[in-house]
């Protein structure tokens, strides 16, 4: 599979945030995106994932065995995983109920929530019968990692994934990225050297 970016630009009014950017990421690659605060790392990830529309240019996702022009991220949202500091899940629900919900809206019947939560270092005793809002910030970040990988996305976007995580949590991020490498593409936006060390290539903004 491939992610092909062609002339991608995002501006707010006359102010250009980034671009034009053209690059290609192949399956099995982890791309790091670095840059100073305000350089447009988060905006780039949101544009690549289809959460915001580009001012110019395009992003195409070509899935395994798919020929032709590929699909824009908005056409294949089920191929995209997303973790970011401003992403929130439902605080009134438990961690397991959150993941169950996101499986159901994707049309999956069987729940892998407990396994995924265990995989990000959250045993059932740490979240059972507790609303998500009552968990610590680091625990919520782990739940977000489980949410992002719940549907085996082809492209996983991680915006500052190690923020609020302890040393064990940073290892969880490394495991998630390693697992994603075998499944598709991971793109990490961060200035944290621990995050960027996971990348095969780095794009500086």
């Amino acid at each position: 599979m491939r992610l092909v970016v062609d002339g991608l630009t995002r501006s707010y009014g006359a102010r250009r945030i980034f671009g034009p950017l053209s690059f290609e990421v192949r399956g099995g690659t982890v791309l790091g995106v670095s840059g100073s605060n305000g350089s447009g790392k988060t905006t780039l990830l949101k544009t690549l994932s289809g959460l915001i529309r580009p001012s110019a240019g395009s992003t195409k996702i070509l899935l395994e065995g798919e020929e032709g022009a590929g699909s824009g991220p908005r056409d294949v949202p089920w191929c995209i995983g997303w973790v970011a500091p401003d992403l929130a899940l439902y605080g009134e629900l438990t961690a397991e109920e959150n993941l169950d919900f996101f499986e159901r809206v994707r049309g999956r019947a069987s729940s892998r929530a407990k396994d995924l939560l265990a995989g990000v270092g959250l045993p059932e005793s740490s979240y059972s019968k507790k609303s998500l809002s009552s968990l610590s910030t680091g625990q919520r970040q782990r739940v977000k990692l489980a949410y992002a990988t719940l549907h085996d996305p082809a492209v996983l976007f991680l915006d500052e994934p190690s923020s609020n995580l302890d040393a064990d949590g940073v290892e969880v991020v490394a495991r998630v990225v390693a697992s994603q490498r075998s499944r598709g593409i991971a793109i990490i936006a961060s200035n944290d050297p621990r995050d960027l060390a996971l990348a095969d290539e780095t794009l500086s903004l």
Binding site: M1, G27, S49, L51, R53, L63, E64, G65, E66, S71, R74, V76, P77, W78, C79, I80, W82, A84, D86, L87, A88, L89, Y90, G91, E92, L93, E97, F101, F102, R104, V105, R106, G107, R108, S131, Y147, H151, D152, A154, R183, G184
Partner: protein, 232 residues
């Protein structure tokens, strides 16, 4: 990694409905707002125009208007939350990436239908008792209530999606909703006046047709436009 088809619409919509009702059950924010407003207005209406304060010939006209005012403003109080809470809580991005837009709209529409039907089931019996409002054709009255509530819920849900990213959500919701909801309200009020006076269902069938047409147009327009509203 191969391409997967999007989730089936109804299953995903029911998941949204279940999630929102569960969250609402645990916080009771919209329910409290809807029911407390409805109760306060009912008490005021009962006090101001109780059974002895209106001439019998004026009751169908005045009570029909008051009933729909209570239902309308109760709807305005709580129904915008379905989308506003997603944007304010930061959960909208997660939902956008996971659920098909049509399933989100249908799920939120169903949530608002459940809430509005519940509050209407609370309002109507109390209103009829407090004001001694007699209905000559209960079948017509029931059909008007169902169709009126479907129209209110449909238009409110779509308007809530429109305003959810705006800064002045409350004011914008009212500004957009009131003109959009006037046609079904006029039909519902007029039909209710007929239902109070005439025992024959056919006397109010024109108002039923207006409400069916309105509900159909609003629902179709909402589904046609929602994709652009939700993703931008």
């Amino acid at each position: 990694m191969s391409a997967r088809a999007p989730a089936p619409l109804l299953g995903a919509a029911l998941a949204v409905l279940r999630k929102d009702l569960l969250a609402e059950w645990r916080t009771r924010i919209a329910v409290n707002a809807l029911f407390l407003f409805a109760f306060a207005v009912l008490v005021l209406v009962g006090y101001a125009v109780g059974p002895t304060r209106l001439a019998p010939e004026d009751r169908p006209t005045v009570n029909a208007v008051l009933l729909w005012i209570v239902i309308f403003f109760s709807a305005m109080t709580g129904l915008a939350r379905v989308f506003v809470k997603e944007e304010e809580g930061g959960t909208a991005a997660a939902l956008r990436l996971a659920a098909p837009p049509a399933a989100v709209l249908l799920g939120k529409y169903l949530v608002n239908i459940v809430l509005l039907f519940a509050v209407t089931a609370f309002i109507v019996p109390l209103f009829l008792v407090l004001t001694s409002f007699e209905i000559a054709c209960p079948a017509l009255f029931a059909v008007l209530l169902v169709l009126g509530c479907l129209g209110l819920a449909g238009a409110s849900t779509f308007t809530a999606a429109l305003v959810s990213k705006a800064a002045a959500k409350g004011a914008l919701f009212a500004v957009l909703s009131i003109p959009l909801l006037l046609p079904p309200l006029i039909a519902a009020v007029s039909g209710t006046q007929v239902a109070a006076r005439e025992a024959d269902f056919s006397a109010g069938v024109d108002f039923v047709r207006v409400l069916v047409a309105y509900d159909g147009v609003v629902t179709t327009a909402a589904f046609a436009l929602f994709d652009a509203v939700w993703r931008e």
